[in-house]
């Protein structure tokens, strides 16, 4: 079990990346960021293992974050997959349900809800000890 759970945060908005990195680093996570789906796909296919991937949906293209989620869902071990979007729709939520994404949040984010969900999902998957990070 890693001491510091590793997170990949993917968003094309620099301020969102900065804020999430700041907040989650403070909670004890080891953060890697990517500003596009393509960059994130390179990272996950390049022997980088992440305990959780938090991704926006609309980046280079509409709903392209689902491609990353789908690729992440095929990894072994499968990371926790969280989608954070300002453009939620029935179509992309149905896509996320089909991929069996672990969490779907609409922006503006409630950071406490996000942190609680992330911690709960990582503990449940056995990626962190209870009460840590």
């Amino acid at each position: 079990m890693p001491e510091k759970p590793t997170l990949l945060i993917v968003d094309d908005e620099a301020n969102v990346l900065f804020t999430l990195k700041l907040v989650l680093e403070e909670d004890g996570y080891d953060i890697t960021t990517a500003s596009s789906c393509a960059e994130a796909l390179k990272l996950i296919h390049n022997a980088h293992q992440f305990d959780a991937i938090l991704t926006d949906l609309r980046m280079e293209q509409e709903d392209i974050g689902l491609e990353l989620a789908e690729a992440a869902a095929k990894l072994h071990p499968r990371p926790v997959i969280m989608i954070l979007t300002g453009y939620g729709s029935v179509e992309n939520a149905r896509g996320a349900l089909g991929i069996q994404v672990d969490y779907f949040a609409l922006k503006p984010l409630d950071l406490d809800d996000l942190k609680n969900a992330l911690h709960r999902l990582l503990v449940w998957r056995g990626r962190v000890r209870r009460g840590r990070a």
Binding site: V90, A96, L97, V101
Partner: protein, 139 residues
């Protein structure tokens, strides 16, 4: 580890007795052993007593939306099992709630129960009709 031969089990939780009965008949035909419940306490008791492969839960039991946390508990207890929820409409909020509770599929209330069961059997890769061996056993 030896393979234990046991009948697959399904949990059906719905406030409407007619719907319970229809789902039970369909799942029994697909060779499931079913446990039915009309409320959360009964469903929780069943969850503590059995290992379920499938659950069909109405999102509205005693009051609107109270089926969701039950589906979430089912997913936490049986992470490899298939949990589906019957909803009034497949809107964004219901889809989001489904994802966040670990639900695999949602079906609208006006979906025919046989279509729901058929979709579940397909998703879980369980043959919808009894196998030749099982049919002969019934004769």
């Amino acid at each position: 580890m030896s393979a234990l031969a046991r009948q697959k089990m399904a949990l059906i939780v719905h406030p409407d007795l007619t719907m319970l009965s229809r789902y039970q008949a369909l799942l029994t035909r697909a060779e499931f052993s079913t446990v039915v419940a009309r409320d959360i306490p009964t469903a929780l008791m069943a969850i503590t007593q059995h290992y379920f492969e499938v659950a069909i839960i109405s999102s509205q039991l005693g009051e609107s939306g109270d089926g969701w946390p039950l589906a979430g508990v089912f997913h936490l207890v049986f992470p490899k099992s298939f949990v589906s929820v019957i909803v009034p409409g497949a809107d964004l909020l219901n889809l989001q709630t489904a994802i966040n509770n670990g639900v695999q599929e949602i079906f609208e209330e006006d979906h025919a129960p046989d279509a729901v069961v058929s979709a579940i059997l397909t998703a879980t890769a369980i043959p919808a009709t009894p196998s030749a061996r099982n049919r002969s056993r019934l004769q």
